[in-house]
């Protein structure tokens, strides 16, 4: 039984990583084919440095991801505090249902509905082009917000309400109490909300596709590329991103483990 379960897990992991392995392998292919592997080379990594459209798209992606993650983390954390302070259960569940809409809806529906909104108001304002940087950013913040709220809110709920009362009791103003007593105890929730927002934004294709206009992010460029022929430089870039994210993830895990120790050492 033990052996069987280990083999099963291994097979699934093989299934999950086979395409990724293929991608990494062909990024080192000396020929331009993603079909036949000839020789090992770093050509496509060099090529990448000159692929301005892809590098531009990468820049766009990072700008959008950073901005949308920061904004949605701030707004979403404040929202969690406010939503939990709501007295009436009905109001609370109404707000939560609205929050859940982008989570539950298919991306394509969210994308189309936002696109319609932007186009409608773009027309009203007489804009020549209604889709672009601002609309992608708004769309990303919108779909990031529920994730931030859902990772902050449980932490906030877990936080002993007497923690902020204790701070008030010891002379903090309500605002001080929030920053000195509540915020530190929900910081892990805020952090993971931010990370989730950042990575979701980095990876989003469908919603960006409908709302980006000419402000193309990396997934859009890759999509356009796969419509024609894919050259291994796309694989090379993906491999780099893969490694970067992998390192970030490892770092995140160790930071999470060590943060408590550090906290104690800092004082």
């Amino acid at each position: 039984m033990k052996i069987f379960s280990k083999i099963y897990i291994a097979l699934i992991l093989l299934f999950l990583y086979a395409p990724i392995a293929v991608m990494v392998l062909f990024s080192f292919n000396s020929s331009g084919s993603v079909w036949v592997f000839e020789n090992f080379s770093l050509d496509w990594y060099k090529e990448l440095l000159f692929n301005t459209s892809m590098l531009n798209a990468l820049k766009h992606t990072i700008i959008i991801a950073v901005l949308s993650a920061i904004i949605s983390t701030v707004v979403g954390t404040a929202a969690s505090v406010g939503i939990l302070a709501l007295r009436k259960k009905v109001t609370k569940s109404l707000v939560m249902s609205a929050t859940n809409i982008p989570l539950m809806n298919a991306d394509i529906v969210t994308g189309i509905s936002l696109m319609l909104l932007f186009v409608f108001f773009g027309k009203l304002l007489g804009l020549h082009e209604s889709l672009g940087f601002i609309t992608v950013l708004v769309a990303h913040i919108t779909f990031n917000l529920p994730y931030v709220i859902l990772s902050v809110m449980p932490k906030l709920k877990q936080t002993d309400s007497s923690l902020s009362e204790a701070a008030l009791d010891l002379g903090c103003t309500p605002l001080q109490a929030f920053f000195k007593a509540v915020l530190p105890s929900i910081s892990s929730g805020i952090f993971s909300g931010f990370i989730m927002a950042f990575t979701l934004s980095l990876d989003d294709f469908v919603i960006s596709y409908f709302t980006c206009g000419h402000y193309q992010t990396l997934p859009i460029v890759i999509y356009n590329m796969t419509k024609k022929t894919v050259t291994p430089d796309a694989y090379a870039l993906s491999t780099i991103i893969f490694v970067v994210i992998f390192v970030l993830l490892i770092l995140y895990n160790t930071v999470q483990n060590k943060s408590s120790v550090k906290e104690a050492a800092k004082i």
Partner: protein
């Protein structure tokens, strides 16, 4: 007390404004576009046209159902086996299962072409054995494989979360009351994991039913799915937004219905299924 609460309620105001404009209003925009023509005049023409997409809807639902079921069959044992190993290995494997989600899914999907194509890795290998080539790419099987592959983590995660939270004393109680392992699985573990299963099913079904990339790349664009239809109409330009909107609206209603059914299983478990 009241003042204090008012203060903390107020900080959510920016979010309420945001949610109203960018979550609620877009839904009404979809309804507006569905029931008007290009000039903004009321019409039912868009709804009437939906008949032409009957087949797309049918195919999408069918494929999504099949891939959801297969995903479940693969994911449940995986999640279950994961809870049986050392805690430290559990974390590692969870990380490995989730990790592909951080990879660009277009590239991951595209890589399958390299594997499945007529001149791809599998067929090259078969050729060396003197077999094949098999038609793997551009088949219904390839589309379903793509869906299962892309959305598997969404199924594993909630099921694993629920399974790992099951109180160990509950299992001991089952042993104590004379359950063998199979009975324990059927009578205790599975019923307790239903909320996770329900959210796993929705988390896989929703993107499967609405996908347009997987179907184009691995299905060879031979047939049109709902997602393809929406994308196609969107690319035709503003004149076709109204019909695209009508299809999206129907798709949303369909998803909401599916959700409503699934919610009956996962009531009271609003959080914890998302990492």
């Amino acid at each position: 007390m009241n003042k204090k609460r008012f203060g903390s309620r107020l900080v959510a105001a920016p979010y309420y404004v945001w949610a109203a404009i960018f979550i609620i209003v877009p839904l009404f925009m979809m309804i507006y576009y569905t029931f008007t023509d290009v000039n903004g005049v009321f019409t039912l023409a868009n709804i009437m046209q939906l008949g032409r997409f009957k087949k797309a809807f049918g195919l999408s639902i069918l494929y999504a159902l099949i891939s959801t079921i297969i995903t479940f069959i693969i994911a449940y044992p995986l999640a279950y086996f994961m809870t049986k190993i050392k805690i430290s290995s559990q974390r590692l494997i969870l990380l490995l299962v989730v990790f592909p989600m951080w990879m660009n899914f277009l590239i991951r999907t595209y890589s399958w072409i390299t594997i499945l194509a007529n001149t791809g890795i599998i067929n090259t290998f078969l050729g060396k054995l003197g077999l094949g080539p098999l038609q793997l790419i551009n088949t219904p099987g390839a589309v379903i494989l793509g869906m299962v592959y892309d959305f598997l983590p969404y199924m594993v995660l909630p099921i694993y979360t629920v399974l790992s939270k099951i109180d160990k004393s509950m299992l001991e109680a089952a042993d104590d009351l004379g359950c063998n392992s199979l009975q324990k699985l059927r009578r205790v573990i599975f019923p307790l994991s239903l909320p996770g299963v329900a959210s796993g099913i929705t988390m896989v079904f929703v993107p499967s039913v609405s996908t347009f990339y997987i179907t184009q790349k691995l299905g060879g664009n031979k047939t049109m799915f709902v997602g393809d239809a929406i994308e196609y109409l969107f690319n035709l330009g503003p004149d076709f937004y109204n019909v695209a909107s009508a299809i999206s609206l129907v798709l949303m209603v369909l998803i909401l219905l599916c959700m409503a059914v699934m919610n009956r299983f996962s009531e009271g478990d609003e959080e914890g299924v998302i990492i």
